[in-house]
Symmetry: C3
Subunit: 347 residues, 3 copies
Amino acid sequence: MRTFSNVWRCVALAAVFVLNVAHSADAFAAVRKFEMNIEDTRITLVEKQQYHTFAFAGQVPGPLFYVDEGDQIEVNVNNVTALPHSVHWHGMLQKGTWKMDGVPGTTQEAIKPGESFTYKFTAEPSGTMWYHCHVNVNEHVALRGMWGPFVVRPKKPTALEKTVTKEFIMMLSDWDSKWSSKPGFGGVPGDVYDFFTINGKSFPDNQPLRVNKGDVVRLRFIGAGDLVHSIHLHGHIMKVAFKDGFPLANPISADTILVGPGERYDVIFTADNPGRWMIHDHVDSHTMNGDRPMGGIMSVLEYNEIKPDDFYDWKAKKFEPNFYYEESLKKGPGVYTNDGFKGQAVQ
Amino acid sequence: MRTFSNVWRCVALAAVFVLNVAHSADAFAAVRKFEMNIEDTRITLVEKQQYHTFAFAGQVPGPLFYVDEGDQIEVNVNNVTALPHSVHWHGMLQKGTWKMDGVPGTTQEAIKPGESFTYKFTAEPSGTMWYHCHVNVNEHVALRGMWGPFVVRPKKPTALEKTVTKEFIMMLSDWDSKWSSKPGFGGVPGDVYDFFTINGKSFPDNQPLRVNKGDVVRLRFIGAGDLVHSIHLHGHIMKVAFKDGFPLANPISADTILVGPGERYDVIFTADNPGRWMIHDHVDSHTMNGDRPMGGIMSVLEYNEIKPDDFYDWKAKKFEPNFYYEESLKKGPGVYTNDGFKGQAVQ
Amino acid sequence: MRTFSNVWRCVALAAVFVLNVAHSADAFAAVRKFEMNIEDTRITLVEKQQYHTFAFAGQVPGPLFYVDEGDQIEVNVNNVTALPHSVHWHGMLQKGTWKMDGVPGTTQEAIKPGESFTYKFTAEPSGTMWYHCHVNVNEHVALRGMWGPFVVRPKKPTALEKTVTKEFIMMLSDWDSKWSSKPGFGGVPGDVYDFFTINGKSFPDNQPLRVNKGDVVRLRFIGAGDLVHSIHLHGHIMKVAFKDGFPLANPISADTILVGPGERYDVIFTADNPGRWMIHDHVDSHTMNGDRPMGGIMSVLEYNEIKPDDFYDWKAKKFEPNFYYEESLKKGPGVYTNDGFKGQAVQ
């Protein structure tokens, strides 16, 4: 249906896992190279609701960049779709590298279909960051899944974050089903968002967060969509420890936090209360899958100590242990794709 | 029109004020028992705009639970409506009592029509909390008035809150008149909120906040609806002292604060500026009653020292002294219904 | 088309620059008098999109009031439109002057067409404040441009703000083109905002923010419209230093901040990273001009050290140096009109 460079697609399929880590002049800095396609990809939000995306490495969210502060990042981006794109590394200071900031018409020309662009920059500052397209953001970011997590590990972690034993990444976004199969269109005034996802999936097709009693848990929230979400965790007190990657002088305690578009909040809590606990958007209308209730941005914090009950909606749930990139984050710095997020190539 | 258990309705009407306070093992902890129906109830938002709700104890907001930190709470909930429900005690930690958290399909089965469920838990932590249904929240919480205030008095109050002489509870919510007489429907993508209330009433049918010069005033805001509200108080500096019940290390001064769905903010200010002062939502479109302007989420802070002027909209206002539960809060811990919030039973 | 007092219009055109500064009893306080019309005025948001406003002094935003804390303010407001209005001085405490607070039906009668009202009050407290109409705010504030900046210079500036070398005022607002030529109507439930502006202009018809390397920059954000905006600055760390004019005990670092209706945030950052950097609303749908993408609330922070590139959208931009009132703010206290914001009188 769409024309694209078959050469690039083949190169990319071969190269996508080529990750070259080498040491730079700074003894602590690695050079992290990655080859990343932007591909027409059909993903499934929930049940039968599919969506045509322009997916980084064919997945939504895109690959996790988990790097050390000061690392040299080099990402060659191949645009294998039929529309222009770019990549903005949201939060990266780009000190001395402003032309790597990824804004078409301001810092570079957009990457045309069939073309490539290599982004080179230093990972600075540390914290929960993300990346996304900066062309026609009303469609490409809001509706086409062009975003992924970018986490920079600090040289000097705070005392609080040193206590963390398990962490989860949660990217929040919104979709209007009307445009699901009309790439290049949508994201216009009057649109009605009717699907709402964590890491590209709506309840009940997303995953629980599994912890053990005693874990110190860090949730990294990223507002990747167009709406403000109000995230409520049951049964625990969240300490809001970081805003946009920056530590708060005095963490704020909360059970419900607003996460706006582009914002990130890192919250830390102690898993001291075994049970099954909802975590969900308290914007009631964001718990819909189309016109069906009790879906959208909802999940369950499960303690491994608790056995399923008959009434539990997810008692037979097939568990996917890396849905929140929690397994990748355990492995330390690297660039991680995730098969669970991959969609189907659109021919 | 709807079938329901007449037995339960009768029991409830008789039992609703049965409040048994007894001392538990903890010398400071009381056992607070309450019997609470969920009833099909028609309330009036403003002027002729009625709304079919599923009301706790037949009122919107529901009864005020004002308890001490550590109290043992026991609430028997009777579902006298034709749809399933539950009660989530938003903010309560439910330490060791996760099956009392009120989430159908996760912590319990929903309470079916004609059935009951008894919630037993410890009031912890302290602060401004609330309760609401957790079934089909897009309709039941957003549109059917299934919420009430739950205030836990701290064992160790902060220095700032000790100075308070008068307090008011303000629950903010939003309504789409299209679904007003269609219980079991609504709360779907594309809905347009056209009525906006404080404690279930829109201006001018809500009430002023009356203070004396010298009062130290605490406003307890609760985001009970689906939208973010931006509350502006004229003529005074609000100290944002608590977020979700938790004290801020450094209270933030503000004249306008965002209150999102599920969030609570406690602000404290000194009544040192006699006059008549607006307090209202600065989201301009939330000051509408349908298509008529200057309604919705607006009220007036009145100093008793100031006499009415001819131009004052509320110069002949019939004052109801407990509209913000300010009289109940003066009485100390207890469970308080409020005749002013009661609607008409729907037969 | 509309009837209005020709007498008042003539007086106002003559008097609008009559600014009388005199010293009051307080050695540090000046008396600042200003004559200000409210006029039917057609402005251009972007390209061919015009809008009928009720403009203060015939401009949107209105004149900048830049005064010292403690100054005596006296503004005679002449309503030259066909509808009632008032002026609320948002953030001013109005100690002892509550009838100057500008709320019709509460503190005064609305100013009828052809009539005047003189507001007299003390400028207190200091900080980024603003003024706006308080009649039918759903239309007059949200859609008719009835707002302007009011900045009060503190007697005791904070250490951080003393370092500032350049400052910019950014008033954020939203428009529904459907009501552009229907004054007296609009601002009703179901409205769809389709234009989004900074200081009344959408990208690309607004202006860059120009700085030199080494500047310490203060941005004064004012939420003047109906929506929450999420402002993202590329390449720099913003310190959120003031909320509603009040200094934060601990400034919060951020790259993205939510600005709600009525709120003000002052952020300070060091211009230490020469380049061209986007500053824009991260609510993706707010970067639209009607149905065309990459407009709305977007601008570019330009370092004077950087030369234009061929790919730069604004390479031939005609620069207007006072678009953010940055030139006026350099001059010190005064009341400043701005020809760049003036529209065409509607006869």
